[in-house]
Symmetry: C2
Subunit: 154 residues, 2 copies
DNA sequence: CTTGACCCTGACGTCAATGTGAGGTTTTAG
DNA sequence: CTAAAACCTCACATTGACGTCAGGGTCAAG
């Protein structure tokens, strides 16, 4: 398969694929005329790479991780890296959850049944970590709103 | 309080605070000589701003959101924005979870009790979405490893 | 053989939240 | 009073994963 096909199937640009190759994340055969050729499996590999990029891993880190995907074995160094990146991701998820909760508090206040009731600041929307709000975990308030917004934005 | 104190308490640089002001996210009084002065509450406000930045919201979006923190009311536009950003964050968390699971699969394989058993690719580590692995949700494998890595990296 | 779609290699542009340094004023501690 | 520490305003540098344009080959179809 040529680069355009891979790009299409993996949902990325050809520029991205050449960049991955430049970074050592992806290899390709070449036709006599110099055009890149990939095996089918490249599609999944690109998707994995993209997943890591999306998760905020820099290319240098991905480069260190990929060999252990290929060999199925992890050196001690790679092992540490795997673990520390996992921790990083976990921390990032916590940060996102915190921001989401802040938004939820704002939505709650904006949705307050009696708008006259909260002139501004009885409990500021950004109060530091109100544990009473932390009992609920996943869905959050105003499901209908979020659902409709999903329709709008996804 | 002056800028250095706020920066210290909020855990950001003075440069960041001046940038926030430049972007309209933060206001300050000035002493006759021109030095910035902030109320105590600025610390929490900066922390909120940082939380949003960490969650990937761009300053322009934060700028649209903050008024509704201040007034406790959200215009329809702001409301849509709140909802769509909440969705964005939720999607980002899902992406992080997917990457974390990919790492977990790699860790599992690297930790495989019989390393000789998986020469490379019986089930590639990056197999697309193995639902059997999705039953477990939060903690993941190799707790001890992750715990020790936490000690190392946090 | 030619046209249009695809591919190639540079190489510069982008965007956003800061970092950093220059050159100068203000505040604070002694 | 003096020196250090903190502040001020420009304004250019950084980082990373691409976008985009230039200038030029390649490949299938008609």
């Amino acid at each position: 398969m040529r680069i355009g096909e891979i790009a299409h199937q993996a949902g990325v640009s050809t520029r991205a694929l050449r960049y991955y190759e430049e970074q050592g994340l992806l290899t390709s055969e070449r036709t006599p005329s110099g055009q890149r050729t990939y095996p089918e499996s490249a599609v999944e590999r690109v998707r994995l790479i993209q997943q890591f990029f999306t998760a905020g891993l820099p290319s240098r880190t991905i480069l260190q991780l990929l060999p252990c995907v290929d060999t199925g074995h992890a050196s001690p160094k790679a092992f540490e890296l795997l673990a520390s990146e996992r921790n990083r991701i976990t921390a990032a998820m916590a940060d996102l959850a915190a921001a989401r909760d802040a938004l939820d508090r704002m939505i709650d206040i904006a949705n307050h049944p009696t708008p006259e009731h909260c002139p501004a600041l009885r409990e500021p929307a950004w109060a530091p970590y109100n544990p009473a709000d932390a009992t609920r975990t996943a869905p959050g308030p105003t499901e209908a709103l979020v659902a409709s917004a999903t329709l709008i934005t996804m």
